[in-house]
Symmetry: C2
Subunit: 405 residues, 2 copies
């Protein structure tokens, strides 16, 4: 008898009708003799509705009370889902974060899980009940309601799976798995049977927003097998797990990309220690997040320093750079907000040379000029002109034969 | 430093705007150096909205999950009210039923309070915080969320006032107090400064629906001074308390009435023991609530048995009576659904004779025929034809000089 933790997001429980469909899916799983723990989000739109009420009162409502308010969203869903299960004759029991004892720290609106009590849930499971848990919320050691921050329901599911030593944690979403790249851009894109935690982290952070990154980290840390599936159609989805001996021998798992990049370069600054932090500190102080950072060693005693930011932050970052360029005796400041990033991701590339050169050759064959390069253990990213995004991704997908299993 | 418990109902917190107004009122009370514990209901309409969601799934949703669902209504209000207080610089803290530990039995949807934990609230009061508690909800000894049934927020307030030994429990409503009768019917109707718990029970059950009857019983039992005030205008309201030596020497406190009555008579049944229960049992089995019951001793060996029901139940009750009349060898069954009940209420009548005769004389002077009479220690009720309702109430109000303090 396998113990499965399933998680359904806001869209999957966005109406009474959809909640009834989730109930049917759960009953199907239950009939396959699984012990079931289900984590649900607030019905889509509900969290925003509550947030608007709060903001009518205060643009920055007190964090403790915001958690009291927002946590009602998931509480509504767990009650309705249990009603739908009980109506169909399947004993169910709802749990708020407080009732489970999802113990968190006291950082309201962005709490982190410290411990999970499992005694009550295990007792209910032993009695054949389906357990329905409110995602996104917990309780601190003083009994205050906390929330894990938006999208935290994935983390709730993974943490519960870890605490209960579940056989699998299944995240139901509006896609049927993790793909080699965006199928909207490349029709040949293929659903991956498996992907490693590390690859998933790179794919998620680079824009394939299937799972909350914290949940993937958590699953990796506690070695919880994680599966992404579709709420709306049947299928095996994609299993996210540790690298195994018998895993697919692919060099590259997928191609991620990011449309919203902008790059800024400060040209001809003295090539001396501390220069990078002198540039990045004021950027960071302005709460601008920096993605890629590249610095080349220069021929003369100066160097060029380039980094990328979200396109929305481009103007602000540029203003800051211009202000500090005099102090840094920079020759000039340049930038471009019509760029994109394309990344090859795969644990296979750790042990195989030649991936990078094949990537650059493929792009060159399509006359795509590479403006920046950055690499990690399992990822190579290039920045190219915006107009080459689709061409570059398609050419790479074909060159690395990602359509083949 | 007085400790005051205040309660605001759904209409008083029916919008963000009104919640902000309640916050202003609380701050005014706080500035008068009162320790404040506030009980709030769900925003008006919210409980119905949640109930509709539940009924989309199941006409009879599982009671435990209905409580999980409905309790979110008050949780939203406590969070918003605390945000409004904190924005104005007044430290506040919200409490769900679980967080207070309003311990109830496990009778979901109609739970009764067994005990109230006050340690956390006292600690927060000592730190100068305004305490905002979700009405209508509690928790059983296993941590399940319970609700006290509709309108139970009044009971929450009274129970908290009793547990905290508050100096006064103030119930804010949309009326500014308890009146000698309905001011819509009698413009001279006067707000009572004081009324006893017993009078209030009779006035409430007879249709002056200002307070939940269970809350009044509770307040009487624990001797909590209860005050009814208006949420929307200033004023002293009406204090509900035990009879005191120096209380107003009025014989009659008020005139209650009920428009929705219907009466049924089974004529000429054998005057023998057990006949009353043979008539009322099938009525009660059909969930028809009976109000007044009158039986006269008859001259021959038969008697007439009359009772009143809510007008909506008239046809059903009549069908039942007709069915059983043969078994009871009754002569006939008659009824009238165009009647009303008028009641004089006052603890003063306990020790004063002549109230009844003055009442009957007053009605006779207006040529109002009395169809039924029923009395209790502090109440005399008569049933008259519907058309005489306003005339009867006005004549009695004048005869007993209720407009004078």
């Amino acid at each position: 008898m396998a113990l499965i933790v399933q998680k359904y997001g806001g869209t999957s429980v966005g109406s009474v009708d959809r909640i009834e469909k989730v109930a049917e899916k759960l009953i199907h799983s239950k009939q396959q003799a699984h012990d079931l723990v289900v984590v649900v989000s607030a019905m889509s739109g509900e969290t925003n509705r509550l947030m608007l009420l709060a903001n009518e009162i205060d643009a920055n409502p007190v964090p403790r009370e915001l958690d009291v308010l927002l946590s009602t969203g998931e509480q509504v869903t767990i009650a309705l889902l249990c009603m739908a299960l009980e109506k169909r004759g399947f004993p169910a029991r709802s749990y708020t974060g407080t009732q489970v004892q999802i113990l968190t720290d006291s950082a309201h609106n962005k709490a982190r899980i410290k411990d999970i009590g499992d005694a009550n849930i295990r007792q209910d499971l032993d009695q054949g009940r389906i357990i329905v848990v409110a995602g996104f919320q917990g309780v601190d050691d003083k009994g205050n309601i906390t929330t894990l921050g938006r999208g935290g329901s994935d983390t709730t599911a993974v943490a519960l799976a870890a605490a209960l030593q579940a056989d699998e944690c299944q995240i139901y979403t509006d896609v049927d798995g993790v793909y080699t790249t965006d199928p909207k851009m490349v029709p040949e894109a293929r659903r991956l049977e498996r992907v490693t935690f590390e690859e998933m982290l790179e794919l998620a952070s680079l824009g394939s927003k299937v799972l909350q990154i914290r949940a993937v980290e958590f699953a990796g840390k506690y070695n919880v097998p994680l599966r992404v599936l579709s709420s709306f159609e049947d299928g095996p989805g994609t299993l996210i797990t540790y690298e195994e001996e018998n895993m697919e021998e692919a060099l590259i798992s997928g191609i991620a990309f990011n449309r919203d990049e902008a790059k800024l370069t400060i040209v001809g600054v003295p090539d001396q220690p501390g220069i990078a932090s002198m540039i990045l500190e004021p950027i960071s102080d302005a709460n601008v997040e920096v993605d890629m950072i590249v610095q080349n060693i220069a021929a003369d005693s100066t160097t060029d320093f380039t980094f990328t930011v979200h396109r929305n932050d481009y103007t602000r970052a540029m203003d800051i750079l211009k202000k500090i360029s005099a102090d840094l005796q920079a020759r000039e400041v340049t930038g471009d907000n019509k760029i994109v990033k394309i990344s090859l991701v795969g644990v296979g590339m750790r042990s195989h040379a030649g991936i990078a050169s094949k990537m650059f050759r493929t792009l060159a064959a399509e006359a795509i000029n590479i403006r920046m390069i950055s690499t990690s253990e399992i990822k190579i990213s290039v920045v190219v002109d915006e107009k080459y995004l689709e061409l570059g991704v398609r050419a790479l997908h074909e060159a690395f034969e990602l359509e083949k299993a």
